[in-house]
């Protein structure tokens, strides 16, 4: 009896803590949405928690679309995020497979080289990459943007896959080898089908990393046909213009939507653990 009460008290404390945490996470989002419903005049002349005087969301969205020429950069970023993260994940999972299961000589050294791509601050790449892109004619091309996005997301993906594949038991691979499977077949039949969780999480992480990139897009591309979405949105908050806070917040909301949708689509794969472990043994 005593124990039960104790557990209940524990549970209710936990409940309150969780509630507070959820609130802390939701409050900024709530005001983000509330403000994006307002007009700039309404925002400036009344308290920020006040209920909007009129419903201005669609006007704000319209303003964002006109001011930033939203559609093209949006589609560009969609292209970079989807293809960039998928190609990078494919390359990385191949590398992770090679590094852990194929007994490569110097595997650890290769891993450290790839991993070290993670450690450099991104700003330091700007000048050398810009120079190189100008000479190689990659500047302001979709291919150039895609290549750098793939490259910059590879190290983390390789790191995750290497760690993950190490926890996959070798017995299955040995068994498959005895059955006469080639390495390629092992990769496609055993490794990939057991990697839904890391693949889904990496698609989401690296996709949203690419989606939210501002600085690489600004330096390595020029025209609206190539530039990613964050460049277009940064126009709303540029130095020489007035700050229309409701429009800025609306822009933030709009740019977050695709990632939220991706999250909702992918989240069921997060909880798919190892098929071998749950099915076998």
């Amino acid at each position: 009896m005593k124990d039960k009460i104790k557990i209940n008290i524990n549970k209710s404390i936990l409940f309150i803590i969780m509630l507070l945490l959820c609130l802390a996470w939701l409050v900024p989002v709530y005001f983000l949405i509330l403000i994006s419903f307002k007009s700039s005049k309404d925002y400036a002349s009344s308290a920020f928690w006040a209920i909007p005087k009129s419903f201005q969301l669609f006007n704000n969205i319209k303003y964002v679309f006109i001011e930033t020429k939203f559609i093209k950069p949006f589609l560009n970023s969609l292209f970079y995020a989807i293809f960039g993260s998928c190609i990078s994940i494919f390359f990385s999972s191949l590398a992770g497979f090679g590094l852990t299961k194929l007994k490569l000589r110097g595997a650890f050294f290769i891993f450290i080289i790839i991993w070290s791509g993670m450690i450099f601050p991104i700003q330091i790449y700007l000048i050398p990459l810009y120079k190189a892109y100008l000479t190689l004619n990659l500047y302001n091309t979709k291919l150039g943007m895609l290549l750098i996005y793939i490259a910059i997301t590879i190290p983390f993906c390789v790191f995750v896959f290497r760690n993950y594949f190490m926890s996959l038991p070798d017995d299955y691979i040995e068994a498959a080898k005895i059955d006469g499977c080639t390495n390629m077949q092992i990769y496609f039949r055993i490794i990939l089908p057991n990697s839904f969780a890391p693949v889904a999480i990496l698609v989401l992480f690296q996709g949203s990393y690419i989606w939210n990139d501002l600085i690489l897009g600004m330096v390595l591309s020029g025209s609206n046909n190539v530039r990613p979405i964050m460049n277009a949105l940064s126009l709303l908050n540029a130095v020489y213009t007035g700050k229309n806070v409701p429009v800025i917040m609306t822009g933030n909301l709009l740019s977050g939507l695709p990632i939220i949708i991706a999250y909702l689509m992918l989240q069921k794969y997060f909880i798919q653990g190892l098929k071998i472990q749950t099915a076998g043994e």
Partner: protein, 450 residues
């Protein structure tokens, strides 16, 4: 895990060795690129010579700017230029100024960089001109020379040649809140004493007299510049040129006046934001005045305040009584890269830009006071008309260059950090002055070493 250390050592050794090897290889690379650009340059020159005879312009023109949010103005002028020559202008906008300057400085030594780009006046334009990276625009000014204020052209010049065409000419003035002023029966001040009386009145009514901020890392120079340059312009220029030490009575006096104003509580808390906070505080009547460049009208527009109805401007009076009307100004130029691929087009574009037609389009679409004196002013809003009459239309007004351009860029930003320190602790002004002095000496030594 002994293996770890051997591996780490091997890694470091191999990496550093390969760095050295490739680093040595890397070195000649710039030379080859300069070679190719040199050949391209000569090619561009020959085509330029051809085009001057055949009038064939190449396009599209590549324009880089850090002011892409002036979309309406750019669109209008590009359309006008296209109508004249049939050539498109491709604009590349940067919203981060530091990235922009780095991109331009990296881009213009090659033909792949911009043809035309916006820049800053005085030392910043001189830096590029000194290295031979800019095209001389003096000849393009010939047909319109007497329409442009020689002082503004001076700030775009290096060794007697003009390298820039004005994109923005802004004066630094005091914006005031008309409803608040009317409510307490206040009129625009003509002297420093009247100005102080206004501050005291507003303060006693519970309105913060002046909106001021050190947020954003660069705004703290505003009041130093205004007090110092409007009272001691000669000393100001001498110090900005590195000819005089910061450790002088005029600078001390400036800080004392400023300190007095801070201590009397004339300023808002320095933590407010220039863009996000001050315009709404204006709209709510919490702030009476704010000092900024005249492009600040766009900030009022963004909260739908109307010029002439909700806010207006006046020229800040000087502290010293015998000073003539002194206005701080900034002039933003547009330059042509010396290595431009489409140089003939770029010249045609600047020619169009300087013409009455181009300036009228730009001035009307952006609501900017044009640097070209024959551009009609009647399409501007009432505040800009007032600025145009009070500042540029007044032959007695003395124009002084803004601090941001008047001195080396290695001084301006660190100096703002020193001003930050002063604002947070006004008693520390003597320490701040000696810090500024050291900073300035170091920066000038570095500059002269180049």
């Amino acid at each position: 895990m002994k293996n770890f250390f051997t591996w780490l050592l091997i890694c470091i050794f191999v990496l550093s060795f390969s760095f050295m090897l490739i680093g040595c290889k890397e070195e000649p690379a710039p030379e080859t690129t300069t070679e190719t650009t040199a050949t391209e340059e000569t090619a561009a020159e020959t085509t330029a010579e051809e085009t001057t005879t055949t009038e064939a312009l190449t396009g599209p023109l590549k324009l880089f700017t850090d002011k892409p949010s002036w979309q309406t103005g750019w669109d209008a002028i590009f359309a006008g230029f296209k109508g004249k020559t049939g050539i498109d202008v491709e604009m590349t906008g940067y919203t981060e100024i530091d990235t922009y300057t780095a991109a331009v400085k990296t881009g213009i030594p090659t033909a792949e960089g911009p043809d035309v780009f916006t820049w800053w006046s005085n030392y910043k334009i001189a830096d590029l001109a000194k290295e031979g990276l800019l095209e001389d625009l003096t000849s393009l000014y010939e047909p319109v020379k007497d329409k442009y204020n020689p002082g503004i052209l001076d700030s775009f010049s290096y060794e007697g040649k003009v390298y820039g065409a004005p994109v923005l000419v802004a004066s630094w003035l005091m914006f005031y809140n008309i409803p608040v002023f009317e409510k307490y029966g206040i009129k625009e001040p003509k002297t420093w004493d009247e100005f102080i009386t206004i501050c005291d009145t507003l303060k006693s009514k519970g309105v913060t007299p002046i909106g001021f901020t050190i947020g954003g890392g660069w705004t703290s120079f505003f009041w130093f510049q205004q007090i110092f340059a409007s009272n001691y312009p000669d000393v100001y220029y001498a110090i900005c040129r590195g000819e005089k030490s910061w450790n002088c009575d005029e600078v001390k006096k400036t800080f004392e006046i400023w300190k007095d104003m801070i201590e009397k509580g004339y300023f808002t808390d320095p933590g407010v934001d220039l863009g996000n906070d001050i315009p709404p505080m204006f709209a709510k009547g919490e702030v009476g005045m704010t000092y900024c460049g005249d492009w600040y009208t766009a900030f009022f527009d963004s909260v739908e305040l109307k010029g002439g109805q909700d806010y207006s401007v006046f020229v800040m009076p000087s502290y010293l009584k015998d000073r003539p009307k002194t206005v701080i100004y900034e002039a933003g130029p547009m330059c042509i890269s010396n290595n431009a691929k489409n140089k003939a087009t770029a010249k045609a574009f600047i020619e169009y830009w300087l013409s009455d037609e181009g300036q009228t389009i730009w001035s009307e679409s952006m609501n900017f006071v044009s640097a070209n004196s024959s551009v009609p002013k009647d399409k501007l809003d009432s505040v800009k008309q007032k600025i145009s009459a009070d500042v540029f239309g007044d032959p007695n007004a003395e124009l002084v260059v803004r601090f941001w351009e008047a001195t080396l860029e290695t001084i301006t930003l660190p100096a703002c950090a020193s001003f930050d320190k002063f604002v947070l602790n006004p008693d520390s002004y003597e320490a701040v002055i000696s810090e500024l002095d050291q900073l300035s000496t170091k920066a000038w030594d570095e500059y002269k070493g180049k």
